[in-house]
Amino acid sequence: MSANEYFFSLMVVNLFSAVIALVIIWYGYITSHNHFLWFNIITSYITNTNLQHFINQQLPYLVQTTGLVYLQFVAPATGLSVAVAIFRSLFYKTFGNFYVDFLNSILLLAAAVFIITVLYDFFGVTFGFPFSYSQGIKDAPLSIYNAITLLGNNGGSYITQGIAAGALMPNSITAFLDIIVLNLLPFSLIFLISIITKNIKLSISVFLVVLIFYFAFNLIILENLYPLFNKSMPAALGGYGSLSLFYSSIATNTGAAVFMFKLLSPIQLAVFIILMLGDALPGSVGTGFISLILIIIITIFFTALMSGRMPKLFGYKLEHKEIEYAVLGYIFHFAIVLTAIPIAIFALRAFNFSPGYGFTKLFWEIVSASVNNGSDFYGATGNINSLNILTGILMLLGRYVPIYFMIKISDSLASKEISFTETDLRIDSVYFSLSLVFFIFLLVIISILPLLALGPLSIG
């Protein structure tokens, strides 16, 4: 398949899946006939976002266990396919066939979900068969639902309270398992580069970037830990455990809720917003990798020029076309966030967006939708037509546009020759990792500091 065909097939499969989900929702009748909510739910699940502008318990059993589960498979399978196709085009110069990739991804996810479900079951998460159409929690297939929610970095947990709800997290072993499952695919993809290129240093340097952010952010978060100890935290986790799980949930763009957002201190809120917009640390399955490549290209451009060379990625010469795509793809999330905020304020005048909490909630919501994170302050209170439409559009744009740019970049790179020179600036090195951190930080800061000032930094 050509790059365009690949992207087209991807869109067709996603659209088709959305239609299936729509039919199921239609058939299952949501309690209210809110079409904007349907739109929001479907876009939210198909884009791997899982903003939940509804209360799970009010959603028909059938919709949750069939339609939403189906979409929770489709979204990560799409991301995984894209990531693999990009690797394939960069290192083997062919995109492959989306349908094959997609089916393989589904099978892979299914196999992994099976194993994880068994583990969850073993450690006490229940698996109730949906014989009856009741809405009780006990007889729901919680373990399998939790497995695909976390493994696929979806984050739309079965229970509105989030993944730390008692039924989903009976003990701390399951919490630990949660962290592993969340990080499994994003980190696997990072190490897939090394398996293909047979260069372990490449993955280690990327891993290093993730670690640097992990430690830097956790230092800041820990510094602000004190309010958490005083508040009610999930019993199985405690203060730091909750924060750790939440960090993984945000960093992998899963966005599953662990505790009440109000428990976070202003600095913690700011850090998590930066983390969401940084988007690549390690990011969601498939798309996190895309953002990472985009910012790597931008960083390579700077490092190459400053060392007196022209930029190269994996031995490919980068030309202005690829730089353009990378810049557009990378700033795209910032651009839609910055555009959407005034629109949202204008459209939702009934809300209180005063600097501080009010603004932070909106800011978080917009960022979360744009980068397909899915964590949100609003929950069911966000079920307002204009917000449903706005976040729906943001989710779609934030999902498919960067994928498109990335496919175009790897397509135009794949048509070139590969050449390595001994003294090429290597991206598998510590100083490149540090540069990457520098440029990610620089771009995030210059894009959102004013909004952070209006939001979390004004709390208190």
Binding site: I298, F301, F302, T303, A304, L305, M306, S307, G308, R309, M310, P311, G315, Y316, K317, L318, E319, H320, I323, E324, V327, L328, I331, F334, A335, L338, T339, I341, P342, I345, F346, F353, S354, P355, F359, K416, E417, I418, S419, T421, E422, T423, D424, L425, S429, Y431, S435, F438, L442, I445, I446, S447, I448, L449, P450, L451, A453, L454, L457, S458
Partner: protein, 681 residues
Amino acid sequence: MELGDYLQILKNSITRLSPVYLKKNPVLLLTEISFVITIIYVFYMKEITPFNLSIALLIFATVWFGAFADSYSEHQAKLTATSLLNVTSNLSVRKITSESSEVYVPPDVVSAGDIILVKENEIIPLDGIIVEGAAAIDESLVTGESLPVIKYVNDEVISGSKVVSDWIKVKVTKTLKESYVYRIAGMIEKTKRPKGESEKQLDALIYGITFLLSLVVFSLGVTIRLLGYSLSLPILLGFYVCLLPTTIGALEEAIGISGLARLWKIKVISKSGKAIEAAGDIDVVLLDKTGTITLGRREPVKIIPLNSYTEEDVAKALFLSSIQDDTQEGKAILRYLQSKNYVPSEIDQAIMSSYEEFSAKTRKSGIYYKGLRLPGKEIYKEMRLIRKSDFYGAYLNEKMPIFKGAPDVMRTIFHAPPDFDEKLEKIAREGGTPLAVAVGDEIIGLLELKDVLKEGVKEQIEALKSMGIEPYMVTGDHPITAQIIASEVGIKKVISQAKPEDKYKKVLEEQSKGKTIAMVGDGTNDAPALARANVGLAMYTGTEVAKEAANMIDLESDPSKIIDVIKLGKQLLITRGSLATFSIANDVSKYFVVLPALLSFLSVARILNILHLPLHVAVISALIYNAIIIPMLIPLAIKGISFKPKSPRRIYLENILIYGLGGVILPFIVIKLIGILLMIF
């Protein structure tokens, strides 16, 4: 530069403020638009406060400094370009005046139809037709054929070819002004500089960031208004201008044009700015041995007597054979022998003897030592017996050949002693070129000649390698000879016994591997390779075809200049990258300086204001910093960031620390200082 120049720059910088001109520089255009909006707002809303006016003034200053940087660098480049044309006229031409006397004139005043005289060992400066005389002409640059051709009256001669013997008078058919180099050099001032690849990439980035920052400011402004707070438009626009990458936006053009001007300064002209950028990114460079690595002349290093002859015998015979030799090599041999005190007493007779010149066909030269008959075998043997006492004197009346020449030719004419081959091989192994010396009918010894390395060539090769560039040595020499020279200067890869086509093949081969390649050439044969290579540097003394094919021409015809060109290319890229990083890194500070003024209604303003400057002072200080950093960096943009050849990694680390981290920290310090100064006055 004189006062007139400065006035001109000033004038240009003002005309460049026109939005039509700024269209191609969106960053400065947006700055100018901000200025216009500020002014309109201030006067329309009647908020004519000193603070608002100074914001407007400083925004204007930013645009103007940008326009100034532009016109300043362009003017400097123009001055350099004008001086280039003088270089092309520096070669003087012997023109025959109507009174048939010779005058030396610069080539640019020679017009078509003029007659010029070209003597032995001179390069024909202009195309024309021979009107008088006949000469052997080396057209190897044009045809690739190394044997000189004899040309007579009415034959055409091409500039760049060399008269090997005799002289000719040529009627000029094509003047210098019609020549390619002159056309290019003349065009430099007028043509627009097309954007290079790295410039386009940087543009993509600058435009992206500009778009993003415009959204940041727009979004912030609208949000503040929507939330019902008051907003000072001048501060918002001041904030916007501070954030815009004005530094790199203003200096980008200056960096590009000064990069070209630096190239012109070393007397290299290029058809487009693209080539110099490409030069910075070269992976492989083909270096011609002759002219780049060696001086192109051989110096004697050792005399090797054969059979039972002594060194002195050989030396004296060599001296006599060379005494009438006018070639470079002949003179070098005499110098060498004199320095070793081997001056025979028979010089006078030798000068009187008949001389056989070196020719490409015979490849030997020497004298028939004054005498009447050729020494026969018998007499020759006798000579050998008494040679110790009075070698030449004994044969005063004999006509004896004393010759030197290429060993392979010499051995077919003269008798070679048994150790001849063995000694010959030894010389070849050491990388020397042998010359056989014969007296009578016997080869009596060998002279080892070696290529003279250019001064500093070893360091230059080392510099290339440290920058990660792979040098190839290209030579027509025998592989062993070539290898030895190459290893002497530290080159690993050698293309020996190379024909001009080999360069082309190599260029294609490296490019198919995705590498970029630079090469030097001067002959018509080199033209395909010059045209194909990413950087092709032609010599001014080369043929028109070569010059047209190449993307750069060295007016001083020094092949080793390719190395300087590569360095300049790297410097250009580094300057561009570092200043861009600096410009964007500067933005961090602006958030902590200007944003508090914008959000003064919030408590967060106090947290952000880490410099503890009064809000209005902070805004003005930031704008002052933002404006004056442009003229402060003009010298850096024009001269380029100083750069010593070392590994790209080291270069990068230094620059990211200075311009990346420095770019974050410096504005905090400078803005604070400006703020303190403002508060004092």
